[in-house]
């Protein structure tokens, strides 16, 4: 599939933004200044970006505890995200959500989610709404191999199929549910699970943007055309621990180093576009430098932003219809 020039540039920028955002959080979290818990998406950037390249603001996504990448790929601004993670009033959820509850409904980003397997049921609701309203939208759930064993996920696969919803189940399989290997914890295969529900199945190398873009394009087109839900199984690797501070004693010696050197989606993207003469490297270097400044500014702004006040406590608690 030929990818438009501007989509290539925008996708690279998203992946670079996710990488730098997460690398910076890795350092900042260790200082103890950030409240709560953060889970980093480094190494998995191509998945969120390759999928979201096919989505617009009228499509909806539900994310996971490892949600920063999905937010950025769906277009949530890094300044508001960084402030949110720092718990500041200027954050996208006014500092009351934090890393695991970043949401921006105006962009169809239903939220990161502290509950493993929490996203799939949400997108069944969103997909039902797309179907009933006939707005042409699709709903996408990102979930991990760990969440693939949750009842909520399996029930959602069933319900989406029964109702023929425009839903896309993106299983981001990084091989570990927290510290437990998927090879141990997941019975059967994701492919066979999809088949069990009669659901079309696609899979791809999640460290290769072009592979994800291709497979996601087919999967999303299927759902958008009204042919029912699909599963997209993305094989990838996370570079940092399950959470920040995880000593990762469950990973083999050299495993992460090999992923970083051989399966870096950004390096592979640069290699691919030069080999095929799709883009000029200097354009990518410019993006790298712009993103660096943007992240620096976001951290500075977040650190200097005001905290929520007691008076803010009851704001946004109830929704009026």
């Amino acid at each position: 599939m030929q990818i438009a020039h501007d989509i290539l540039l925008r996708s690279y920028r998203s992946m670079r933004t996710i990488r730098d955002f997460e690398e910076r959080l890795h350092v900042e979290f260790a200082t103890g200044e950030i409240p709560g818990f953060v889970h980093l998406y480094c190494g998995e950037e191509a998945s969120a970006v390759g999928v979201c390249a096919h989505l617009s603001d009228t499509d909806t996504i539900a994310s996971t505890h490892r949600g920063h990448g999905h937010c950025i790929a769906k277009g949530v601004g890094v300044e508001g995200m960084m402030a949110e993670i720092y718990g500041r009033k200027t954050g996208v959820c006014h500092g009351k959500g934090g890393s695991m509850h970043i949401a921006d409904l105006s962009l169809g980003m239903l939220g990161a989610n502290g509950i493993v397997g929490g996203g799939p049921p949400l997108i069944c609701g969103a997909a039902l709404s797309h179907k009933v309203l006939k707005d042409g939208g699709v709903a996408v759930a990102f979930y991990g191999d760990g969440a693939s064993n949750e009842g909520t996920t399996l029930e959602s696969l069933n319900l989406a199929m029964v109702w023929q919803l425009p839903a896309v189940f993106v299983c981001e399989d990084n091989g570990y549910g927290e510290a437990t290997g998927a090879s141990y914890a997941c019975a059967g295969t994701q492919k066979a699970r999809a088949a069990g529900f009669g659901m079309p199945y696609f899979d791809c190398d999640g460290t290769d943007f072009f592979a994800v873009h291709e497979a996601a394009g087919q999967a999303i087109a299927h759902a958008r055309a009204g042919h029912g839900p699909v599963m997209l199984h993305v094989h990838l690797a996370r570079w940092y621990g399950h959470f920040e501070g995880d000593a990762m004693t469950y990973r083999a010696n050299g495993e992460v180093a090999r992923e970083r050197s051989e399966h870096d989606c950004l390096q592979n993207f640069r290699k691919h576009v030069t080999e095929t003469s799709l883009l000029d490297l200097s354009a990518l270097d410019d993006i790298d430098s712009n993103v660096k400044d943007e992240i620096e500014a976001a951290v500075k702004a977040a650190k200097n932003a005001p905290l929520p006040e007691p008076a803010d406590l009851q704001a946004d608690v109830y929704v009026s219809y």
Binding site: A30, T31, G32, F243, G245, D246, A247
Partner: protein, 373 residues
């Protein structure tokens, strides 16, 4: 110059880490390090992990020593380029340490200090201190099955101009489980030894329930240590006691069975929170906790009656004294406060159970402050 200096600080791992131990430095002072290089191993209560350097540079100083436990954010070392002078680094360290210690002090005012463990003879007692000042200190003695948290609504109110001490009696809370003979006289001897250990010669004693009997024993044996007596629903002034409470407290091992027992303690039953019930169940499951309670109950309330009559001690006590009691007390009867000398004021609180210091904290605090003036 400070832009060229990077502090290496105790990292935060995971959700709840507040402090960590530096188990080893992986590089010597003076070595060159790269950003992301693991420069030290840090151990927490949950995890041991390598600490990645946040920046590249020369490790100019190792401030923390191996084996040292420090709070998150504390200075472990300093990275800087060789061009930075030693004097600049010293100045940076001095400023960092000054800022860090004042930030920490602001976070933990004395009122919220953690309890400390104090050795008294063979026993270790958990002690919560608060306040400072010249006025005579206040000592809080809790009752059967209680602990120092019984005074959570009172201790700070009395700590504005003086030192105050609450502690867990032996067999209770975080103190040693050995209750000795379990008599008020035995606990009074331990209490006197604790005061000696803390260097306190004289205190206003505030005591609740069985603690009241302990306070009276203390006044009998060490009158010079007792500046005044504020007895809240005290034992030792009558014979009857609600044995359903005592026996139920000892035998209940689940929330369902303990909750109705704890309901005896208060007039407003909604005050018995789930957390309170669970905390008590957790305490009772500690080794020796149950045996301690049984020993005390046997020594203090044999045959369903209070063993000790200490009315004469109160009547002959030379200092000021007062009684505070809830009218709706279901454990000890406020009738026990009748027929005491006129010099001892009795405050009866309406619609209040056995724990006025929790249920009517403001009224109780006002009375305590008045007597301690």
């Amino acid at each position: 110059m400070t832009d060229l200096i990077t502090p290496i600080t105790m990292p935060k791992f995971g959700l709840a880490m507040t402090e960590g131990k530096i188990t080893s430095w992986n590089i010597p002072s003076g070595a060159q390090v790269e950003a992301g290089q693991e420069i030290a191993d840090i151990e927490t209560t949950k995890i041991t992990n390598g600490y990645e350097s946040p920046a590249s540079g020369t490790l100019r100083r190792q401030i923390a020593t191996e084996g040292e436990t420090l709070p998150v954010g504390a200075l472990l070392g300093v990275l800087a380029e060789p061009a930075v002078s030693d004097a600049d680094i010293d100045a940076f360290i001095a400023k960092f340490q000054a800022d860090f210690s004042s930030d920490n002090a602001a976070d933990t005012p004395a009122d919220h200090a953690e309890p400390i463990m104090v050795s008294v003879g063979d026993l270790t007692l958990r002690v919560q201190e608060a306040g400072q000042g010249d006025a005579t200190p206040v000592l809080f003695i809790h009752g059967f099955g209680g602990d120092l948290s019984n005074w959570m609504l009172n201790q700070n109110a009395l700590s504005t101009d003086r030192r105050t001490v609450a502690f867990d009696l032996p067999g209770h809370g975080g103190s040693s489980k050995n209750v000795g003979d379990g008599t008020p006289a035995g606990f009074a001897a331990t209490t006197a030894a604790l005061l000696d250990k803390l260097g306190i010669t004289s205190v206003h004693v505030v005591a609740h329930s069985l603690g009241g009997a302990i306070a009276l024993e203390l006044a009998k044996t060490c009158p010079q240590k007792v500046a005044s007596l504020s007895l809240i629903a005290p034992a030792g002034l009558g014979q009857s006691i609600n044995m359903d409470f005592i026996e139920g407290f000892i035998s209940a091992d689940r929330r369902k069975t303990l909750e109705p027992v704890l309901n005896y303690l208060v007039h407003d039953k909604t005050l018995i929170s789930r957390k309170m019930v669970e905390d008590i169940i957790r305490f009772k499951r500690l080794d020796g906790a149950l045996q301690g309670l049984q020993t005390i109950a046997k020594a203090c309330f044999p045959n369903g009656r209070q063993a000790e009559d200490l009315r004469s001690v109160l009547a002959s006590f030379a200092g000021p004294a007062q009684i505070i009691w809830g009218e709706a007390d279901e454990v000890l009867s406020p009738n026990d406060a009748k027929n005491l000398p006129d010099t001892i004021p009795v405050t009866l609180l309406p619609q209040t159970g056995h724990m006025p210091q929790l249920e009517k904290a403001a009224d109780v605090n006002a009375a305590l402050i008045k007597l301690a003036k």
